[in-house]
Symmetry: C2
Subunit: 354 residues, 2 copies
């Protein structure tokens, strides 16, 4: 049997903290019984509640932490108050020490990223980490990054994101050579952001082994699933992500109100109930809950702060998959291949391909 | 009776040219019989077809143009080949000479913007023009700009966009003092793009008469209609627009396939038909067809290249409304007020308010 996966949980993170994290862990444990949890939180809050989830309790070690990072804490403030001793810090630190394979927190994104960077540090050859989201598409799912870790990115950073996202797509979808596109306005090579154009040119010139560069994509390609991985800097990426979430909610609202408008519509709704349920399930944001921090010496998963147990279980499931499918190892491999290919002479390349 | 509105049409623009423009003009004319058209296009193409639309013919003057700008022409190429003599150029020029109040083209965006800038020039105090889109929201509609005219914008340009968008919202929605938000990631003042933060600070410090500055908004506020005007630079704005369009299509596709899945669903669909029709109408992209070029000495409306007659009629309707509601005059007024307020001493301000 495979070695169990150790997942550290910031039990105090998120709008509801332990009330969501512990039942979420229970659901995740049923899906992957070979999970072990390291629970970080305040004993007064966690221990009484943990009694309600004996399965989680039996699969966990508990670690008391005095401090919790507030959902509205600024990153610098969180670092100052929460370093070394908060539940957020210690769940990340467990990844650094190797006690955990991956950390999951529903805590505040800025604080979680600041602590993750400080504690785990960025990988060699990676300047800045990124947050990757899983984007539901007409064809299935894509990886989209960066969705908000950094603002602006130069060409080399965009290429780093392409490598990181490519490795994640390999781990997540089991594709050997995912397609990667650069988010731009207009698909012609003369158009768009300077950095994006340069990154595109470099990706065309460099021999790529771990992914296929598919050129520029536009905003509407995200939902189509035109490529497996969409690369962008964090400002546009975050706006795209929230715009899509907002549009989905907006249309859901239109649909609900249309279906309640007349008696016939309500009757039709009842008959088509199962179809609507399928649609709702398809659009359920909890199913794809979890932003993956990429580019650090360890994996940290950020859950939505306002999610419920089902959503938190998805984030844990994603964490599990990323470890089981050796995301970190794949990233390291892909980075080596990319940088070897980049400086290779033609002879080296042939050698590398064999 | 009010003076008729003169609208110049680039009859050759768009994927289908005259086949869409002329019937579109027919629909628009029925809605606003006090419209006069200036038709620019090739006589061999336009004149035979025009016979099929006698109402349009009788309300129009026709102007033969040898050259049409190709849908895939680069802006520089279009300028070189199409200046002075293409249907696109001459429909814009008619606005400059005062023969037309506004121009409408479904031609290629880059070429249309390049020609509009070259021919009409930017207004005093405006450095760069913007393209404003009308965004359907849960609460109604908002103005969003820039959606792709420029890439990147400094703080002053974002403020220009706020003034331009505010004037358009006043003309379009008839609100006296629309609310304006800056698109950002995170609503806290410490977050996001440097230029956006600076623009926000300046907007807070300056006395504003023509709009209310409502702070930062995020991607999901677009669909909610949190503010009347959303200001952003063109890269993120274009990506947001296309992402929303893509998401709407994606969900429409999910809905269609869910409703065809089982017999019960199909029966339910039939019963709720009118509700679905309402929903489809609500989501119909043709209804809000038309990007408004703002910041030039004249108004140019860009229709989607692939739209049909109904969609082109919407773009003409938008052009009509923008003239009838004195958009250009409102912009000029608002620019004066803003710049007066900005350099005003407290005494001037009191005077200005009275």
């Amino acid at each position: 049997m495979a070695k169990p996966i150790h997942i550290s949980l910031d039990v105090m993170g998120g709008d509801s903290g332990a009330e969501v994290v512990l039942p979420g862990a229970e659901i995740a444990l049923l899906r992957h019984p070979d999970t072990r949890f390291l629970l970080f939180g305040h004993e007064k809050v966690v221990l009484p509640l943990l009694e309600k989830y004996p399965r989680v309790r039996d699969a966990s070690t508990f670690h008391h932490c005095d401090v919790s990072v507030a959902m509205d804490a600024k990153p610098s403030q969180a670092l100052k108050q929460g370093r070394w001793r908060s539940s957020m810090w210690r769940s990340i630190e467990a990844v650094k020490t190797g006690d955990a394979d991956v950390a999951v927190s529903a805590g505040n994104t800025g604080a979680l990223m600041a602590m993750s960077k400080f504690c785990l540090r960025t990988m060699a050859n990676i300047e800045r980490p990124a947050i990757a989201a899983i984007w539901p598409t007409t064809r299935g799912e894509s990886v989209v990054l960066d969705v908000g870790a950094t603002i602006g990115a130069d060409a080399q950073q965009l290429i780093d994101f392409a490598i990181l996202g490519g490795a994640m797509a390999r781990a997540l979808f089991g594709i050997e050579k995912p397609t990667v596109g650069l988010l731009n306005i207009g698909v012609e090579e003369v158009k768009g952001l300077e950095e994006v154009r340069t990154a595109g040119r470099l990706l065309k010139e460099t021999p790529l082994r771990s992914f296929t560069y598919a050129g520029f994509v536009e905003g509407d390609d995200l939902g189509k699933g035109t490529v497996d991985v969409v690369v962008t800097e964090g400002f546009a990426g975050n706006i795209a992500l929230k715009t899509a979430e907002g549009t989905a909610k907006q249309i859901g609202g239109y649909l609900r109100s249309a279906m309640q408008r007349t008696l016939m519509a309500r009757l039709g709704y009842l008959l088509a109930r199962s179809a609507f349920d399928r649609l709702r399930e398809k659009m359920d944001p909890r199913k794809v809950n979890g932003g993956v921090f990429l580019g650090l010496n360890g994996i940290v998963i950020k859950s939505h702060g306002g999610t419920d147990a089902e959503g938190f279980a998805s984030a844990i499931g994603l964490a599990y998959d990323m470890v089981r499918n050796e995301l970190l190892h794949k990233i390291a491999q892909d980075l080596i291949h990319y940088h070897r290919g980049r400086f290779a002479t033609p002879a080296d390349q042939t050698e590398g391909e064999s």
